[in-house]
């Protein structure tokens, strides 16, 4: 792939790639690291990708564009708000021996307003820190209410 990401977020986790992948794609566990939201990842290419809030809202919809367990997941990330261009999010898991390297690449398919860039920065940083904490210590994400950008 020749294109370069618009943003990168990454962490190292003391767990094998299979465990990181299992947590990332297990809908039932996703609220523990995703601000209480459910993340549904279809099992195959072209399957739906969905984020559901506790009150049933679906702020993000999309499609699985590529899936290669336990290494790579690429989804389209379509924020259901006017004025936000479609993004693509790529999760990469690399085996580093004693740890896994979990990387999130953000690809912007249009000009993303600063407030959404900020919520991406804050959001992915917290999410990756939470996935790391959950896998390494078993502690769930402290309940932080993340308001969608107004």
């Amino acid at each position: 792939m020749d294109r370069k990401p618009d943003r990168i977020f990454l962490t190292f986790i003391a767990a094998p790639p299979e465990k990181v992948w299992a947590l990332l794609t297990d809908t039932a566990q996703s609220p523990d690291w995703f601000f209480g939201q459910r993340m549904d990842v279809g099992a195959a290419k072209d399957d739906p990708f969905l984020i559901t809030t506790p009150d049933g809202g679906q702020p993000v919809k999309g499609t699985v564009l590529a899936i290669d367990p336990p290494r790579r997941l690429l989804v389209s990330w379509e924020v259901q708000m006017p004025g936000v261009p479609k993004n693509e999010i790529e999760f990469l898991i690399e085996d580093m021996g004693a740890a896994s390297k979990l990387t999130v690449h953000e690809y912007h398919l249009g000009e993303v307003p600063e407030k959404f860039l900020k919520s991406g920065r804050d959001g992915w940083s917290l999410i990756l820190a939470s996935i790391k904490t959950l896998l390494e210590t078993g502690r769930k994400m402290p309940m932080i209410k993340l308001e969608p950008p107004q």
Partner: protein, 109 residues
């Protein structure tokens, strides 16, 4: 320790300047990053290597080019860790205070 590497990487104004520039414009080559700065390519390359070791800079290669990004996650991990500790400390202090007040009160009556 992982944090020693992180704090050492942050404890230098030139490296913080490079992080500021990557924050303002993600995905720069080394050449773009030092454009207009009184910093040699060699010095910048050393600084960037330290920032990469601390996981504060992430990079991708595309063809012959290497693009650099600010990775905010380690800062967040430190925040999560210390916020957790501060809360635990406050809870412990309150428990102690409660015990002391209650036992003082108990001895008076």
């Amino acid at each position: 320790m992982e944090e020693d590497v992180l704090f050492r990487a942050l404890a230098d104004p030139s490296r913080r300047l490079l992080l500021d520039r990557l924050f303002a414009k993600p995905g720069q080559t080394l050449g773009e990053l030092i454009d207009g700065l009184p910093m040699s390519r060699q010095a910048a390359s050393k600084h960037v290597a330290m920032l990469e070791d601390a996981n504060l800079v992430a990079a991708v290669r595309r063809g012959r080019e290497k693009y650099h990004y600010l990775n905010p996650v380690p800062i967040q991990e430190i925040a999560v860790r210390w916020i957790g500790k501060f809360e635990a400390g406050r809870v412990a202090a309150l428990v102690k205070l409660k015990r002391k007040l209650e036992s003082d009160h108990g001895s008076e009556t």
